[in-house]
């Protein structure tokens, strides 16, 4: 086991972010260019080194409300580069660096930039509230045909019955769930780029308005404006890079019915993915120093804690209660940038990946986990799940 896995031939070499906030009054295109230029510089490269471009999402999903990636060809034209590999996709997006790692590991490109740009904060302002999922489309296609027409108009309505069932089956309480947004808010206070940084209490959480039971306001991530770019490079180019981070293992498995309503038990959406990832490494959950687990909703971070083996199924409520285990200084600091719940919905684990890279480089400032060697990163976009271990560069 080990050196033959393709992800060992790829590294994350650069991260870059635009200004991030509830509303940033610049175009998505300009935010994208800001992030790409920052990421390429962070990698120790120049634009002329970049030969691959990717964005998430691509295709018809690129223009949902607040989705502001721009057009991949216009970005390439603006950057004035030559590319040998390009990708824009929804399916297969288990992690931001998954496709780019495949490209550089197989020699199709040497340095790939992938970006995700959101202006969902502005879109929410302009709509007078968070827009309905799919509201720009005339009709609901695919799995959404069974969800939007009945009134499950947002992902929160789609995940909420699974949260209710999970709380019911395991006796987990909302008082326990509260410790995830509360603890992450304390982390966000140490992140100058986080959207919300003022303290949050369990009482604030319990007093907040319901969105779709049992998910309240603070269970939902924060619509934001901002762009994140990540550079993925061939490991053999490491000598050219300022501060690469190794990809120890990654996987993305769909072993259930891929829809919100038909998946057999959605609390286990990440279990097969995590198991496949652990099969590609000699490391174990106890080796993880810091966890950046997708938190589009609080309940998704709960399920990832269990899927990744940090605790057993049904035990995440007790694991997070009181916050001591998941806080900085605890046994598993969780979403040290504030996560999407406080840091902003940068989406698709782009923010989570950027933070994991900072932590492993020792560049996380006031929120640095001392001696961080191994970081877990997970993503779940509905039923598209991904999990990875990133490690400090040693070769």
């Amino acid at each position: 086991m080990g050196s033959e896995w393709f992800e060992r031939r790829a590294v994350i070499s650069g991260i870059g972010q635009s200004a991030i906030g509830r509303q940033i009054d610049r175009s998505g295109f300009q935010l994208t260019l800001d992030a790409i230029l920052a990421a390429v510089g962070d990698a120790g490269l120049t634009l002329d080194d970049i030969d691959g471009l990717a964005m998430f999402p691509g295709g018809g999903k690129a223009n949902l409300p607040g989705y502001a990636n721009g057009n991949l060809y216009e970005i390439q034209d603006a950057l004035r580069i030559t590319t040998t590999w390009r990708q824009g996709q929804v399916e297969g997006m288990s992690l931001p660096f998954y496709g780019p790692a495949q490209a550089v590991a197989t020699g199709q490109a040497r340095h790939v930039v992938i970006w995700r740009t959101v202006k969902e904060g502005s879109a929410a302002r302009n709509a007078g509230g968070r827009p309905a999922y799919g509201s720009v489309n005339p009709s609901a296609e695919g799995p959404l045909a069974w969800l939007l027409p009945v009134g499950a108009l947002s992902p929160v309505c789609q995940v909420a019955p699974w949260a209710a069932r999970y709380l019911h089956d395991y006796g987990v309480t909302r008082e326990q769930l509260a410790w995830i947004p509360v603890t992450q808010r304390a982390h966000a206070a140490l992140n100058p780029d986080a959207v919300y940084r003022t303290p949050l209490t369990v009482e604030d959480y319990l007093a907040s308005r319901m969105i779709s039971t049992p998910m309240c306001l603070y269970d939902c991530d924060v619509p934001a404006d901002g762009s994140t770019a990540i550079v993925v490079s061939a490991a053999e180019a490491a000598a050219d890079l300022r501060a690469p981070v190794a990809i120890e293992a990654m996987a993305g498995v769909i072993d259930g019915r891929p829809s919100w309503d038909q998946w057999e038990d959605f609390s286990r959406v990440g279990h097969a993915t995590a198991a496949a990832m652990w099969n590609r490494t000699g490391l174990a959950p106890a080796d993880v120093d810091v966890a950046q687990l997708y938190d589009g909703f609080t309940i998704e971070a709960v399920w990832w804690l269990e899927a990744m083996g940090f605790c057993k199924a049904g035990e995440a409520g007790a694991f997070v209660e009181g916050g001591t285990r998941i806080a900085l200084g605890g046994e598993l600091p969780l979403n040290t940038w504030g996560g999407q719940l406080s840091g902003g919905r940068l989406h698709a684990a782009f923010g989570h990946t950027a933070e994991a890279v900072r932590q492993l480089r020792g560049e996380a400032g006031a929120r640095q986990v001392v001696g961080a060697e191994v970081a877990a990163v997970t993503n779940v976009g509905g039923y598209e799940a991904g999990a990875a271990l990133l490690t400090r560069w040693r070769r």
Binding site: P131, P149, V150, G151, V156, A160, T213
Partner: protein, 156 residues
């Protein structure tokens, strides 16, 4: 959940596979696919049995009472004019193990929704002139606390 005027929302994109479902919905009937080979039922309709992968399927109507696998009460007005709150339920049918259907809940206050409660099949006017699943609470039937979990993939 009856509301005057056109219901606010996003209508389904109807395909060759789903046309029969939506046509029956307009008549208040819940159609699923049944495999003429192995007899397993599948939802949503794909023209392919999810148990044996057979391609010969027929439409059959489910009239049985269902059980609420789980639910949510939506309080957020996602679209202008959307009437809130309303309950949404994931419904399973004890005698139809391949079938789980998402819909609204009526016949009781939204806050009365509960895991395990009994519901009758029903529909109500939805967006775009389509009838959408709208299950009807059955009074005086105690909730079974632990309805069967959906079958594993490939199970009949």
């Amino acid at each position: 959940m009856t509301s005057p005027g056109a219901p606010v929302g996003i209508p389904p994109a109807v395909t060759e596979e789903t046309a029969a479902f939506w046509a029956a919905a307009a008549e208040g009937r819940l159609l699923v696919e049944r495999c003429t080979g192995c007899g397993a039922e599948s939802f949503p309709p794909y023209g392919m049995c999810r148990a044996c992968r057979g391609r010969a399927v027929e439409a059959v109507e489910i009239r049985d009472r269902g059980r609420v696998y789980s639910f949510t009460v939506n309080h957020q007005r996602w679209l202008p004019g959307l009437e809130v709150p309303y309950a949404l339920v994931l419904v399973e049918f004890p005698d139809h193990p391949g079938v789980r259907v998402f819909g609204r809940l009526r016949g009781c206050p939204p806050d009365a929704a509960a895991i395990g409660m009994a519901v009758e099949v029903g529909f109500e006017p939805g967006p775009g002139g389509y009838a959408v699943p709208s299950f009807v609470a059955v009074p005086n039937v105690p909730a079974t606390g632990d309805p069967a979990v959906a079958p594993a993939r490939g199970a009949a």
